[in-house]
Symmetry: D2
């Protein structure tokens, strides 16, 4: 049953315990073998997708803060990072007929966006818990993008 | 540590055991209380976001199949579902200043897209494992969209 | 020459004078005939795409205003409208294997988002020229979505 | 009147004759002056946005062709280019609180995607009019991205 399976996500051990194992399951069902390690790719897509969602939520939370005037740059970088991560995760979700130099450039943009947004969020982390959480997501996203870019068959 | 925290995702029990608990953590850090139950909202965003990713991957997998001629409609509905779910997850990730009738309409579109795509994927589930997995994700997405729409303060 | 052709966009008369004629040219090159009138479809995609861009720009302009505290709802509705219009334009840009009920639902969500965002922008139109322009784009988008929905072979 | 204004788009001369003049009007209404020349920025957003739409349509047209097996790579690159251009146009539509190095990286990714997709489309241009049109859009998009990147205050 679907919901039960989901309940196992990230469970104590075994395959279902790996981050992004649902994405990995899908990669395993693809007629083509991905060009980079499947577990790394799945974890990377997960981290980048999750960062996009966190940035969208953080932009909204910043907008709702009373001291939003201090958060204008944070909102802007959150929105950019959300858009860029969203496109990057889509590109990474495809295995057919890639141009690795395009994938690599997009991963560089993703890494730059996550670094910039994460650093700005970090500056507000003490006052805003959503910025603290978002900074963590951005750091994980940037690391994942870096790892994937280095693993590309360029 | 970030990776360790992630490793706990969906762990055996407690709060970290709930699907989408990272999204829920972000909702808890928001200055505004969401209008619907936090755990339900987080699980819904998770299911809809995950469906978007699965549909993007399934479209690509179908395209790579030798018998792709039979999968044209499946690819089309996957692409539509991915776009619609992506927009829906973004809308749901915002708590500030909503218009519930807009959110509700978008959830209806999301439910329709997931139903349509899920049914088409189901037809190919016996031959293509990626379609089987995607059909499951679409069903979960459609159920989540339905649940959220009914919970909106309309 | 490409740039010259572009310079003709919306020129004094003839085919090149129609809004969205570049989109229409692409529709004419598609192996399948679109299910609705080509000129109407092209003009609709143009209006909806343009509204998405205007809403993204208006959200950013509102964020940069000193009196941004009064514009929180406007920013939120702009962001929702941008996401929803973006997905709608993508769905409309596809002719292969559609499910018209999905397209129709997404057009309903698009119309609702454009109406809601346009009305909110209208309230700020006297003070903010970007809101006035965006309200006009939203109205055109909503009318286009309504027209297309009524023309669908449902 | 809105529709009349639109009818003037790209008219014979004057300001309304410039490509993307509607986008430029919005830039003029923004409380902040954009960091690059307004007409160039507006034309660039127009070209990149238009390329995204053309690539979405070309992917769908390729999918509908009987000889789609030869077009798998073209479809893939179209989908990537559409996603990347969409994110790029969104980033460019914001003037508040930018990080130019992020904008620059995304423009590089956009240029790479447009080059790659345009070259692949060019290979099919003799057989498929949609690929010929899309190749032209990609070339204009790549040129616009290059021009904007060089104009950034990096």
């Amino acid at each position: 049953m679907a919901h039960h399976e989901h309940g196992m996500e990230g469970g104590a051990g075994g395959e279902a315990g790996r981050v992004g194992h649902h994405i990995e399951e899908m990669l395993s069902a693809h007629p083509l073998k991905p060009a980079v390690d499947k577990a790394m790719l799945a974890a990377g897509i997960h981290a980048i997708d999750h960062c996009a969602q966190a940035c969208t939520a953080c932009a909204d939370a910043c907008l709702a803060e009373e001291r939003r005037a201090e958060l204008v740059r944070c909102i802007r970088l959150n929105l950019d990072c959300a858009d860029i991560c969203g496109a990057t995760a889509d590109v990474l979700s495809r295995q057919a007929g890639p141009d690795w130099s395009v994938v690599g450039r997009q991963l560089e943009a993703c890494q730059a966006a996550a670094k910039s947004c994460g650093e700005e969020c970090e500056r507000h982390a003490r006052h805003h818990e959503h910025c603290r959480i978002c900074a963590t997501n951005c750091r994980e996203c940037g690391e994942a993008a870096d790892r994937l870019r280095k693993a590309l068959p360029l």
